[in-house]
Symmetry: C2
Subunit: 537 residues, 2 copies
């Protein structure tokens, strides 16, 4: 399973084996194997050895999480907020170490990527989650004072977070958006590190542990395991003690976890693969073709293309400027150095996808520049296929090629474009570039409903790789980009809703109501829907 890709299991334990964080203590894992981080720029294995946990570790973590959950549920949001803020401060204090560790484990540039973009994004998310916890706004209380019925959201229980390879900070299992959202809902987190960055995860876990101490929260609020056999992962997400699971990663891994969780009636939120189609209409190309080629190449090759919202498929409608656009993009692909990929698994996966897509009939337009000499690196690959060929096997051409590759579909006309849009799989995003003068508006109107139903976020004249941290963001989309089209992984407070139950109080005596449902909640900034009117206290 993909969430265990890149491991080097071994039954041999030894003194360099790193401890796991269970029930508030750093302790030796009961390990069934181990793995080490690998520097993707040099392919050199790091010193520290991280354990693959046996079921007994998971079992202990689940017990501790359940007990922490009961304690957290009874705490005021202010306490949760204090922890999240203390944690953000700890992260800033440890910034250099975190950046160094993540640089060594991901190959991402220290600056701006890690230090100046992803780290501030991470602390910002934690602070926004703190704010939501403090105001209790994620609970969206609804009061019907005549019927004496009061409803609000509360935490769903312990949350398992399995983070992805590509954002060691902002989507990290013990630091990212899922973590922040779960904690804001008073849910303890059992984090499973991504095997690509165990050391980074460890540093975060240590910082979180210190912040828990400082804020006086139950120490089992945050627990960290580095890995486990896939069968144990499947058992974990289906365990009765789990409230919900958040997974970001491959479709194969996600679907296996989904099946296990579904069978047990356990909510699971998945962010899986997405090709993020970009339709480029003739009028836009005519107006600003060179500019669009630049914009596209910058977006698609950023971070070696390792973004969930990487624009993997361009739907290019034939026109006088189409060939020039393709030529410009191909030239830029050839000229840009092949980026460093996160690990051997990503490199292999990318190669297999490129082979599969070209094997299905797409042409490779790039001449194959030299990849980085020592890194997990591949040349940038631009593929091209005709609209007719695409329509013959649309699913084959929508295979995600995670990394620095993209497919251009040469679409014959607006009619064929609509036909192709009707075959697009559920995706996180879809973009349309159209003429500013309105020349493409008829085509836009024809394809908008088709794309709208197939993506979570629809963009105009903008590449999808920037996922703003905003309450109005939707980082989600129809299956199979996620498991449910009604939820988002980014955007507080909506992202918090994933980790909640809906709790109704019917004629419950006033002194027994939680504060956010009392007649006078006494919580600064809390918005409530009272008898049909939104009111802030």
């Amino acid at each position: 399973m993909a969430f265990l890709g890149g491991l080097t299991p071994s039954a041999q334990m030894n003194d360099t084996m790193q401890p796991v964080l269970i029930a508030g203590m750093w302790r030796a894992a009961e390990a069934t194997g181990s793995f080490r981080g690998v520097d993707p720029m040099t392919r050199k294995t790091a010193e520290a050895e991280f354990p693959l946990s046996a079921w007994s570790d998971v079992d202990a973590a689940l017990d501790a999480a359940q007990s922490a959950f009961e304690k957290l549920a009874a705490l005021p949001g202010e306490k949760i907020a204090a922890f999240l803020e203390a944690y953000a401060a700890q992260i800033e204090q440890e910034k250099d170490k975190l950046v160094e560790a993540a640089h060594a484990e991901t190959g991402y540039p220290r600056s701006p990527r890690l230090a100046d973009v992803e780290l501030p994004r991470t602390t910002n998310q934690l602070r926004l989650a703190a704010q939501a916890a403090r105001t209790e706004n994620w609970r969206t209380p609804i009061l019907d004072t005549k019927a004496n019925l009061r409803s609000a959201r509360s935490g769903i229980g312990p949350v398992v977070v399995m983070g992805p390879n590509n954002f060691p900070f902002a989507f990290g299992s013990v630091s990212g958006g899922d973590f922040a959202a779960a904690i804001a809902a008073h849910c303890p987190v059992i984090a499973k590190a991504h095997p690509s960055h165990p050391k980074t995860t460890q540093l975060f876990a240590e910082a979180a542990h210190r912040a828990l101490h400082a804020a006086g929260l139950p120490l089992s609020t945050v627990q960290v395991l580095y890995g486990m056999d896939p069968s144990i992962g499947l058992r974990m997400v289906a365990d009765p003690r789990v409230g919900a699971t958040a997974f970001t990663g491959s479709r194969r891994g996600g679907l296996a976890l989904k099946e296990a969780a579904d069978r047990a009636g356990k909510p699971i939120y998945l962010e899986m693969s997405s090709v993020n189609p970009v339709a480029v209409l003739p009028g836009a190309l005519k107006e600003r073709g060179a500019e669009l080629a630049d914009e596209f190449v910058a977006s698609v090759l950023m971070g070696a293309g390792q973004f969930c919202t990487n624009p993997g498929v361009v739907l290019l409608v034939e026109c006088e400027q189409a060939q020039a656009f393709v030529d410009a993009v191909a030239q830029k692909f050839d000229a840009a150095p092949g980026g460093c990929l996160l690990n051997e698994g990503v490199l292999d996966g990318l190669s297999r996808s490129v082979e599969a897509i070209s094997g299905s009939g797409a042409r490779v337009l790039t001449t194959g520049g030299a990849p980085h000499p020592t890194a997990y690196s591949a040349p940038n690959v631009l593929l091209e296929v005709g609209g007719d060929a695409f329509l013959q096997q649309p699913e084959k051409f929508q295979r995600e090629a995670f990394g620095n590759a993209a497919l251009i579909v040469r679409v014959s006309d607006a009619t064929q474009l609509a036909e192709i849009c009707g075959t697009i799989e559920g995706s996180l995003t879809a973009c349309v570039y159209s003429a500013k003068d309105g020349a493409d508006d008829a085509t836009y109107d024809a394809i908008e409903p088709l794309l709208r139903r197939r993506c979570g976020r629809l963009l105009n004249d903008k590449m999808p790789t920037g996922v703003a941290v905003s309450p109005a963001m939707n980082h989600g989309g129809p299956y199979p980009s996620t498991g449910h089209p009604g939820f988002t992984a980014v955007g507080i407070p909506t992202s918090i809703v994933r980790f909640t139950t809906l709790d109704c109080y019917d004629a419950v005596r006033p002194h027994r109501l939680p504060p956010w449902l009392a007649d006078e909640p006494g919580i600064d900034g809390l918005w409530r829907l009272v008898d049909g009117e939104w009111k802030q206290s």
Copy 2:
């Protein structure tokens, strides 16, 4: 499977076979069999024969629904509202016929139950859904004007509604809460009638069809099938053309459908079984024991106990008044006539459950009054088990006995009560009766968190059988009472959220935004979260 219980399949088609409503036309089904309604009071089979549809019928309905969905998505909420209101008016016009048909198919009293309670509840729900459609408030628009990001909910696609046996109007597949919520979200509905009330469903479908005509909505907005082979039902909920499914019924049927839908990545909302525990604390019994016995018996025997929120398990803490309470309840059970059950399947299921629960060690306290002579009727059965025995196999004693039966658990003390509360399965409701003078407050505080996590609606001093139609209602609960603890089947606008996707617009040009996301929405009464503030337009 339970949603096909009580059928008399037959490959013989003939002239009395009723048509199905597909793609706006009443037309002959492609049938693989048929069934007839049965009057549960007389066990007499009705004249009219209803078809079990072949896949080709479902296929045609799905195609028509998908095309209707695209049209509905483009309509203003006002048009949807006009249909829902026209439909409510049609229902009122046909009231006598509907009441008569439902009376014959369910055995429920014409008045007050059908004519004065369930029918007005049904039209009220439709009108509240109309109001939500008109104000667009179910969309909960969120705007971030600085980032130019705008999100709102929109309809998820065609919705399959499979209604339960026990509410032919208010939860009916073509008239009830799921139907109203789906339509409010601009989702066409494919309704599968419950086999207990095909004639009632037909009358509703005719009324809906007329209302669609009157309101000028696509006629495929509402389609009706009467039944199908279980394998076809499973295929239907997993079909790519389906947006989501709402099912209310047995756990067995619900779980089979859930598995099929989950595998296909299709949202399914289930309301399955629930035992709805009621804890009666000593102080309450001391203060008002006789009153509580009356209240309990009225709730548990209402409608022959055929309510989703029927209080099936009483947790009675030992005290001086406990035996008197049990005696009073047993006496009332013996004295009350055994009600009429909905069909042979319910009667059989009830007998099996009572046998299983007594077979697990519960004593039957009632002496077995005469059931109704011709009806599907069983004597009221009160069972009793000790707390120790309950704790030895809690799942056995939480088997739902749908109908006029209940289990009293004799709990030794507050400690055992907490232990038992910790074994309660996910339930729609949980109630606690406690002393008004505060004598039970320590016990209440100890069990409240345990019950709170195990139910959707927590009540004080009140039986759970009244499910108010209110925005603050939660008719939902943890698995296995439903499939997800974050959703409700009653309570507009929250119930509508089940049938929506989250749609984000990122830098979309102003003239292309849907009205509810425009700078000036021009929609009366619409609440939006704009840059952190709820504002009404």
